[in-house]
Symmetry: C2
Subunit: 232 residues, 2 copies
């Protein structure tokens, strides 16, 4: 059993944190990095050791400041086939956290480890600028330097009071660590299925990667009084 | 050096085909399957042996019949930040082929090999229905059974006369094989970079997977007089 403090130290130092949401929800473990520490080797680790879709998450407030909204909201406003596709929820009942898929404009094709690390690092700079309060500069850089549709999924957290997915939990973890709300993660997959919690625990022991649960993150947010975890 | 005929046989039997676009373009090798043969083991192969983004491609005519358009077109019509993101092209000058990211509504979270194989198989059924001419039934099933945004990228080919990307080449390969225009592929990645053509050739020899080039596909479409390869 790992402590939240161990996970926060791992996050700060660029070590992966394994994050299990809840047996009542996806019941899935994601590999999470602080985006400010992502480099090509970490993108390689995400695709070779986790295997899911590589996502960069921040808060919905920052995403709206950049002139974007949740993709399901966008699709509902477009109407037609798009709104019918967006009207369905996932098996566990939540709305998807997807916003848009992006490339940094200097990426070659967008998909190599080098390219995805470039996209993530520059997007982290944009998020950090917005988090420091300079939203108009963040938006100008975002619009000038990024291209869509691309190869890195940008996600937005709705805050833990509204959704308790990996997006909200991982963003909360960054906030608990005193970092910008800017995290990168992918689902941990076994062949044909998700990695079971017990398998993830064994891996965490072997590799020295902290494994924590959504319940631990919620308790830590409450104890530390980090209001912004709940609504952003 | 493999023949196009060997690649067509591989495609029909569910063996991967390695497809190199051109040294003048992405200079990238993708692993391609006929979508009608995709099962969870093939999704696992795509993510563990190729490593790029797992995409399902068909023709732009079929995509429009389903009530969808290219995502960059959609973004341009939305305006604001979206149109500025969509106004940039990739380093090699092409518009992106992305349409929408989907899940089958019966998928659990959408990302496991089982879930992505389910999404691809059911989407293949929709594409096949449209290809046989029953577009209204295809659209009804698509709207009833699919959810977006999800975890499998749906791409559309513009035809070889307008674009010579993996999307157009792989869809043309399926048409040359007498199959529905319904293919699944991912970019072949090495650590930090794309797999070089010579590395892909060595892999193709070792595994018995045909490796062909975009130039070979174009010549075969011309020789066989398959008009639909050029414009759809």
């Amino acid at each position: 059993m790992w402590s939240v403090e161990e996970a926060l130290n791992a996050l700060r130092s660029g070590t992966p944190v394994l994050l299990h949401d809840s047996s009542q929800r996806e019941d899935e473990v994601d590999m999470v990095f602080y985006a400010g520490r992502v480099d090509p080797d970490k993108v390689y680790m995400l695709r070779s050791r986790a295997g899911g879709v590589i996502c960069h998450a921040t808060t919905s407030t920052i995403v709206r400041g950049l002139g974007l909204r949740f993709m399901d909201e966008l699709f509902e406003s477009v109407g037609g086939a798009y709104s019918r596709l967006a009207s369905k929820t996932l098996s566990y009942g939540d709305r998807p956290a997807f916003v848009v898929w992006i490339n940094h404009a200097k990426a070659r094709t967008g998909v190599s480890d080098d390219d995805r690390a470039l996209t993530i690092s520059r997007m982290h700079d944009v998020i950090s600028t917005a988090w420091r309060g300079d939203v108009s500069r963040a938006r100008a850089v975002f619009e000038a330097e990024f291209q869509a549709p691309g190869h890195v999924a940008l996600l937005a957290s709705r805050g833990l009071s509204r959704r308790r997915g990996h997006t909200e939990l991982a963003v909360s973890l960054a906030l608990l660590a005193g970092l910008e709300p800017s995290v990168v993660f992918a689902e941990m997959l076994a062949r044909r299925r998700r990695l079971a919690l017990e398998e993830a625990r064994a891996l965490a022991e072997r590799e020295g990667w902290p494994l924590i649960t959504g319940g631990q993150v919620e308790v830590a947010c409450r104890d530390a009084g980090v209001e912004v975890c709940w609504s952003h």
